[in-house]
Subunit: 232 residues, 2 copies
Amino acid sequence: MEDLKRALLEQFGLVFADASLLETAFTHTSFANEHRLLKISHNERLEFLGDAVLQLIISEYLYKKYPKRPEGDLSKLRSMIVREESLAGFTRDCQFDRYVKLGRGEEKSGGRSRDTILGDLFEAFLGALLLDKGVETVKDFLYQVMIPKVEAGNFERVTDYKTKLQELLQVNGDVEILYQVISESGPAHAKNFEVAVRINGREAGQGQGRSKKLAEQEAAKNAFEKESHSCF
Amino acid sequence: MEDLKRALLEQFGLVFADASLLETAFTHTSFANEHRLLKISHNERLEFLGDAVLQLIISEYLYKKYPKRPEGDLSKLRSMIVREESLAGFTRDCQFDRYVKLGRGEEKSGGRSRDTILGDLFEAFLGALLLDKGVETVKDFLYQVMIPKVEAGNFERVTDYKTKLQELLQVNGDVEILYQVISESGPAHAKNFEVAVRINGREAGQGQGRSKKLAEQEAAKNAFEKESHSCF
């Protein structure tokens, strides 16, 4: 806990007035359940709150960033940005995964690198920050941690290339596009996936990434670039 | 529009710095579509934003109000409070339905009293208020307009009596509980429903309300009170 406090101060200049909020945010249900007699609070209620403040800040950001886009597009973009996998990524970026308290079983089975746990942790942290410091501080934090990656197009790119590839190929009628994991390596917290994309059975591109989805995107991108050249 | 501005000032002490936000919030898509050449903005994007700020404020309220309830209960309560039907009710309470601009077809077919349109309008107004004045003003507004009704238990009661009745009766094995509309009267904006509840074919209670659901709740409540007495 002291390490976490130090890290928050050094990385983000944050000092919690109520440290018990921080404690709760970093306590997974599995830990609270194992120590039931101590009546420790876990982070599910804070996650509920954090999810809501995250949605609001991302919604307002998207509303202002894309003044011409219809509501449906904004919703789609938002759901890409706030999905579990990407939130887990932000937890890792902030190195919050080091500090979460897990039950023994959860720890053994690799919970510390599981996207569900890490995504929820990110939201719970935002909930604690909201209660301790208010919505403007949560906004500042997200503009420091998340928005630069959104600006860099990290989220628009996801699904884009798979969709783009499909749109490109379907101009010539129905095609079968298959993504296949060809290798999976590395320890649980630093996995590497290699994926190949096959168009009507023919391998059209490969990609790698720390999740299957990211590897698929890269494969789709490579295939897209090859295929769109071959059309000219 | 001038009437709306006056009403906002008189009822809520609100003056919009950017009146075009207000204009947009009160413009339904059907109106914008009818005047396509004028390129009028409609309220769907503001609704997207208003939904998010509403969720946050209600989430924070519930989190603080019910310090012992698990996340699942808070989610359920929140969804009851922010559902379309109840938001439409707040629009009517604020008399915002008077000011929404609808296309001619929509107006003719009773759009001005339709819950979807009025619920969306309430959210769009909150979105406009957020952009014009910030989250604290939206909070103040909701604490004036919505929270007193939530505190009065208007939302917890919904679904409660139907569930309570079912739980009471199922102690004695399976029973068939049916709700039946026995009359529907009044103009579109002020409907009145009468509903009867039948337990294994026998009428056990009646209720009325401005929606089918509210009337069912009242019928369930009446039946519950009779049935729970008859158990002693």
